[in-house]
């Protein structure tokens, strides 16, 4: 078996230093996690391990068995890639060729490295697809990537990685694009694969919870440097570096419960939203009979995975969509008839929800101008200050801001018309953990300051546990469970809620292992 030793790795893009003297070791059969926020250099490190950098200078030593990976010929690289070191990428949809079947793509890699016959390669593809638990692998090998779900595509990529029996699998954010339950399945699969094949695993993630249960050693990176490394149990339980402590502190935690005495502000009664599909008799029931009160002053969390109808529900609540059946009223008035911005929305992607050609200030001023304010600038500047930005940002453009700053702008824009209710649709899911924590506490402060009522839609149970007073669990367009946050988390009633909770990645290694055992027990049962 082969050890990986990285010594004093430096990666530069022109003048920019992405990785600055990184050293770590991954013994054969081990599992190492690299954790860091965006810009920490973790992905640049992964690409260097496969010699995939085209625009960067890579210095230092990467020893893998007898090879120094920083000094391989292109010919030797082609032998190493896929056969000895295999990579699993983040975006399973785009990481596979849309024009070839899954089986063909895996077989091509296998044939290339082993020189086997077509028939043997096809058999191997089916074999590895079975190994990653693709149902009916012989038939599904003939499917194209777009015919697979996100989780299945990631399984297919892992199957491709396994095909040539590599000694090391590098997984770069392998679960970031996936739902929480699917994420847990993929992490469990990687763990299982490591156990059964003896391959080493380098798992890269921004999420401490992802590496906690799946690695035995961890490197915490920040701005190209390893700020701390050691046994996962030690680093995550008793971190030494201040930055690691900061990261751990940023992980959302339960908050003490509040008593909400406000009456119902927003009422949904028997709300349905069905989308008719072209030439299909059956419509998509995105939201199917939801009855729900949002009480004045509370923060209601709505949790669900992709396709459960949570974004549709959020849009219905803001009046952006009108229901196919049922009523939505705000203070007794039908939501679609209301004017004056009493319900506002904060969107998931602050980049695409801001007009790139208009200044920040202009974007925030829009709702004010609509309500007849002649000179909105002072109000907008005040709002910028309230959301923790500076006045000077008024004249900047969205691309000049960081992701966290842009989301603050999105929040300021939602606050501008003095709404009573804010509906946030995944407002922190594209942000780094520390930024996420800051935005969450900002929302909390603003809610108190402005006396707002909030609906917070998220796939992330940990985030909701921190911010929500009550939680509604959405599944296939219906609310399957609704209750006070502590109650739902401590005594989940519905099977889906239980499944969701067991899948949440937790940064405590012992707890992560317990949950994995629990999931395995569920699978075998």
């Amino acid at each position: 078996m082969t050890d990986l030793v990285v010594e004093d790795l430096r990666i530069r893009f022109g003048e920019t230093v992405a990785v600055d003297g990184l050293s770590f070791e991954l013994p054969a059969g081990g599992a190492l996690g690299i954790v860091g926020e965006s810009g920490s250099g973790k992905s640049a490190t992964a690409l260097a391990l496969l010699g995939l950098h085209t625009a960067a200078t890579v210095e230092g030593r990467i020893t893998f068995g007898a090879d120094d990976l920083t000094a391989l010929t292109e010919r030797r690289w082609r032998q190493v890639r896929g056969a000895e070191i295999a990579m699993v990428f983040q975006e399973p949809l785009t990481a596979l060729s849309p024009f070839h079947t899954i089986g063909d793509q895996i077989a091509e890699v296998y044939r290339l490295h082993t020189g086997s016959t077509r028939r043997a390669a096809r058999d191997r593809a089916v074999e590895v697809l079975r190994q990653v638990h693709i149902p009916d692998p012989a038939r599904r090998a003939a499917s194209y990537p777009h015919q697979f779900s996100g989780g299945m595509r990631q399984r297919a990529l892992i199957a491709m990685a396994l095909s040539c029996r590599p000694q090391l699998i590098v997984a770069d954010e392998p679960t970031t694009a996936l739902d929480v339950t699917v994420q847990a399945q993929i992490l469990d699969l990687l763990d299982e694969v490591r156990e059964t094949t003896g391959t080493s695993l380098l798992l890269i993630s921004h999420d401490l919870g992802v590496v906690a249960g799946s690695t035995d050693r961890v490197v915490v990176m920040r701005r190209g440097l390893a700020v701390e490394q050691g046994a996962t149990d030690a680093v995550l339980v008793a971190p030494q570096a201040a930055y690691t402590r900061e990261l751990l502190a940023a992980v959302p935690r339960a908050k003490p419960p509040r008593t909400i005495d406000g009456g119902p502000l927003l009422r949904l009664a028997g709300v349905r939203k069905h989308f008719r599909q072209r030439r299909r008799a059956e419509p998509v029931r995105a939201v199917d009979d939801v009855t729900l009160d949002v009480r004045a002053g509370e923060t209601l969390g709505i949790v669900g995975e992709s396709g459960t109808g949570k974004t549709t529900l959020a849009r219905l609540m803001t009046g952006l969509l009108s229901p196919s059946a049922g009523t939505i009223t705000l203070d007794g008035v039908d939501i679609t008839r209301r004017r004056g911005g009493s319900v506002q929305m904060v969107f998931q992607d602050p980049m695409s929800s801001l007009n790139p050609r208009r200044t920040i200030g202009e974007s925030i001023a829009d709702p004010l101008r609509l309500s007849g304010v002649r000179d909105p600038r002072p109000t907008v500047e005040d709002l910028l200050l309230r959301v923790g930005l500076t006045r000077a940002l008024y004249d900047r453009f969205p691309h000049q801001l960081s992701g966290g700053m842009r989301q603050r702008v999105g929040i300021a824009r939602a606050l501008a018309p003095r709404p009573r209710l804010i509906v946030c649709d995944e407002p922190v899911s594209s942000l780094d953990v520390t930024t996420q924590a800051q935005v969450l506490s900002l929302l909390e402060d603003l809610r108190a300051e402005f006396g707002l009522t909030m609906v917070f839609v998220s796939h992330d149970l940990a985030v909701l546990r921190q911010i929500a007073d009550r939680v509604a669990v959405l599944y296939e367009g219906r609310i399957v469970e609704l209750g006070d946050t502590a109650e739902v988390y401590d005594q989940p009633q519905h099977a889906y809620t239980k499944e969701l909770l067991a899948a949440v990645p937790v940064p405590d290694p012992a707890e992560a292992r317990r949950l994995r055992a629990l999931r395995r027990a569920q699978v075998t049962a």
Binding site: L52, R78, M87, F89, A95, L96, P98, F99, Y144
Partner: protein, 329 residues
């Protein structure tokens, strides 16, 4: 799939129906009376009325359109006193200027235009994709620059200039090729190609530029995609990545463009046809416009419509054949 084809066909019929209605409206509103032209000098009002009746333009627009549709399906007769002109189905009208049914005029000229269009299209596809790939793969920076320069030049140079220069060089100076005249493919394939070579080149210039640019952009974009990175990360050699993984995605946009170009050239290569003296549909159209021979104008326009609609449908079918993500429903 069958359902798709049926719907597509239905749509095509509707489009052509609408187009013909629109054309008839314009035809009817046209200020000039085609009968006056046909009647000629010293035309008496009685004679004019006769001619109008013979041409069928003395009726209401609806009656005219009805006759037109009947003619399409069953053919029709144009009679004035003693003389009867028969226009067999599918009758697109009768050209009194040339004393021939429009359908026959079109069918006579279509082989010329089709020869021109196919040849030019094949030439520009080969040259355009080749140049685009050379530039897009950027093995040599200077090659990319040269191709880019040529693309720009190809867009900028007018067809008639290219045509004249080609004639001057190959027919007058070097005398390598005969002055183009149309020889049907069935008569003598070699002479057919020899005579059409210069028109093909002249016509292909602009298209080559367009295809080269599209191919270059397509291959560069595709090579930057995630699945190409995956292929590299699994040790696939670069040549295999380009030919097996990237090319298909890069050339997808060309499918639609080629089909529509092909249809368009059939009826609109006026300059090339005129310069090289090829009796194609484009020339027919220009002649008809000059002579105010409206039935021919209507006929050519409908033919263009038919070709474009057909080309679009074929492009969609091809697209679905090449890209597994496209489902025809």
């Amino acid at each position: 799939m069958i359902g798709y084809l049926v719907r597509r066909l239905g749509g095509a019929v509707l489009v052509l129906f609408g187009l013909s209605l629109l054309l008839y409206g314009l035809f009817y509103l046209a200020p000039s009376d085609p009968a006056i032209l046909t009647c000629g000098k010293g035309c008496t009002p009685e004679r004019l009325a006769e001619v109008r009746h013979a041409m069928g333009v003395d009726e209401s627009i609806w009656a005219q359109y009805q006759h037109f549709l009947t003619g399409l399906v069953a053919g029709r007769d144009y009679s004035s006193g003693t003389l009867t002109r028969h226009c067999p189905a599918p009758c697109l009208g009768y050209s009194f200027e040339t004393d021939q049914p429009v359908t026959k005029l079109l069918l006579d000229r279509l082989p010329v235009s089709a020869s021109l269009a196919f040849g030019a299209e094949v030439l520009s596809l080969v040259a355009g994709i080749g140049a685009g790939l050379l530039a897009g793969l950027r093995r040599y920076r200077w090659l990319d620059r040269i191709v880019n320069g040529l693309v720009l030049a190809g867009y900028a140079v007018p067809v008639f200039l290219v045509g004249l220069l080609l004639l001057l060089l190959f027919c007058v100076q070097l005398q390598w090729l005969p002055f183009p005249t149309y020889v049907p493919l069935t008569t003598d394939p070699l002479a057919w190609a020899q005579n059409l070579l210069l028109p093909w080149v002249a016509l292909a210039v602009i298209q080559t530029a367009a295809y080269a640019r599209l191919t270059r952009a397509g291959i560069q974009e595709t090579l930057a995609e995630d699945h190409i990175r995956t292929a590299r990360a699994y040790g696939l050699p670069e040549s295999r990545i380009v030919w097996r993984r990237a090319l298909r995605g890069a050339l997808l946009p060309l499918v639609t463009l080629t089909a529509i170009d092909l249809a368009a050239i059939m009826t609109s290569a006026v300059l090339t046809e005129t310069m090289f003296g090829l009796p194609g549909v484009g020339q027919l159209l220009v002649g008809a416009v000059n002579q105010i021979d409206l039935p021919v104008v209507v006929g050519v326009t409908l033919l263009t419509g038919l070709l474009i609609v057909a080309a679009n449908a074929i492009a969609d079918l091809l697209y679905a054949a090449v890209d597994p993500r496209v489902e025809l429903r």
